[in-house]
Symmetry: C2
Subunit: 151 residues, 2 copies
């Protein structure tokens, strides 16, 4: 037996934050996408519904800024949500350039549904961490995220 762990990653990578970050984002993303797909949703849907219920009706441009979703992708996602009856898209009477997006009652139900799914995903994703470690991770990542991009 030459190497007891022929699959082990090199130490240089295992201590490289940027690598750890991008690598662990893969299972995270996959889990989220799969579980949401199982109920016919996408990550964008949750992001939008969550933002709308927290801040109230907003324009698509603002939704893009809050969620980090590109404007052109917002269009498609809102189309899907509107078609399913989860949100309402209506022109802003005060500014006819804008569309005002509003969550519907069934949209709020949908959000709850997705929230349950995502709760299970977090559990699966962070299984090896205890509660304190999870809080630490969230806090650390939030700091990093704040430092780049969004305020």
């Amino acid at each position: 037996m030459a190497d007891p762990h022929p699959h082990a990653a090199p130490a240089r990578l295992r201590s490289l934050p940027s690598w750890l970050l991008t690598q662990s984002s893969l299972p995270a993303h996959r889990l989220v996408a799969d579980r949401l797909a199982a109920v016919g949703a996408r990550g964008y849907h949750y992001r939008l519904l969550a933002t709308l219920t927290e801040f109230g009706p907003e324009s698509q441009a603002n939704l893009g800024r809050r969620t980090g979703i590109h404007l052109s992708d917002i269009v498609a996602a809102v189309n899907e949500l509107a078609e399913a009856g989860f949100v309402d898209r209506s022109p802003d009477p005060a500014d006819r350039r804008r569309n005002v997006i509003t969550v519907t009652a069934t949209g709020r139900t949908r959000l709850d549904e997705l929230e349950t799914v995502l709760g299970q995903v977090q559990e699966e994703l962070l299984a090896p961490l205890n509660d304190q470690e999870r809080e630490q991770l969230v806090s650390l990542l939030a700091k990093v995220l704040d430092h780049h991009g969004r305020l």
Copy 2:
């Protein structure tokens, strides 16, 4: 002024580990890709060079397992590295299915070079974190990563 922070992300997202992970992996990935591109390299190159210098010559399949890079992508990356003279690809006399990849002297120099670049990237990426926090982050992410996929 209705909302002092029209760009702020909703609290639901800001406390959702899977979202924080995928979001913060974006600047990380972008920084790495850009800085490496500036010296004519890609993330794959560093991963491969680091693995080879740490474990010695290995087959492409094993490199794939260690680095998490898909076999078909290994081919292309090794082509690039070999063409630049950073690695040597030769058939394994003991097993003619395999290619044995070996780092060259200039390859080791190249690794040092990339390591310097990546060091600066980490600094930039983790700027808001102190040393202890960085260690925590690395430790937490390693746990998560170990739990999924690679041992």
